[in-house]
Symmetry: C2
Subunit: 144 residues, 2 copies
DNA sequence: CGTGTAAATGTTATATTATTACACATATAG
DNA sequence: CTATATGTGTAATAATATAACATTTACACG
């Protein structure tokens, strides 16, 4: 039940111990195959006593800050990071299948370098970068 | 303003004729320096007789489909395309300044190639790609 | 041990963003 | 003309997110 995920494979930041609500939200998200909306998480946690969206949003804010949950901007939804010891300093990218709803996370290092090169040239200092591909995954293509 | 790379690999001037509402929405967005939310557009068009969000959303759907307006997923807002003859086949990227709200559109060809290479390997067929950098622009960095 | 302070939580209300449903109007191809 | 696509008007509601304020808990430090 408890998500003490203390991989500490990332020395730069140790992962803070999660609070009760953060742990509950993280557990629900981790148990789900795909992304969940904040309200879906809320519903999943009503049995644990959750009553208001803010309880979810506050926990999500922290989890995203810790780098162990990602927000999918194009879906207004959230996923647990699929990296083992989630490297929160890396920019993640997501391939979102519009047919089955599945999400595949990957680390587009080369693409990020290209974007960083543009940013350097433009004098833009990125703090976070969103990369989301919407489309059709291999399985759904095959099933077409 | 950079990002004037002209793909020019598309049939020029095949802009569909805009309907009344589409034209009104496009004009408002074009006159604005930065991004606007749907409701900001609605307010701007009340004097033209707009009364309901759907009038805006329907026009925006078409304008985005035509490729002359982009949706900024991380802001839930919209911008007119900054390309002259907007190449709707190219993936645009956006550098969004969190300090001044300014948005700079560019065409990250190399980065898109890298993402496409990943997609090819994964058997994922992208239909649209979102690339948004949040951060601080040159001017705001200087003013810090 | 207390105690001060920062963080987390509980709760109500409200703001913001987006869609459903249905009626009617207009454009355009055949 | 007339069938059909698409666009429009309007009301109601759904879905997503935050503000404001009271209270509780974690925890460093004297």
């Amino acid at each position: 039940m408890n998500s003490t995920h203390v991989g500490s494979s990332h020395p730069a930041h140790d992962l803070p111990k999660l609070t009760k609500n953060q742990g509950l939200v993280f557990d629900v998200l981790s148990a789900e195959a795909g992304p969940m909306t904040a309200y879906a998480i809320l519903d999943a946690l009503r049995s644990e006593g959750f009553k208001a969206p803010l309880q979810v949003y506050r926990a999500l804010d922290k989890l995203v800050e810790f780098g162990i949950v990602h927000r999918l901007e194009s879906l207004n939804a959230f996923v647990a990071c699929s990296h083992p010891g989630c490297a929160q300093n890396e920019t993640a990218a997501f391939a979102i299948c519009e047919r089955c709803g599945g999400v595949n996370e990957f680390t587009p290092e080369k693409a990020v370098e290209c974007l960083q090169a543009w940013a350097d040239g433009a004098g833009f200092a990125p703090s976070r970068t969103t990369i989301e591909l919407r489309g059709t995954c291999r399985d759904c293509m095959a099933a077409a």
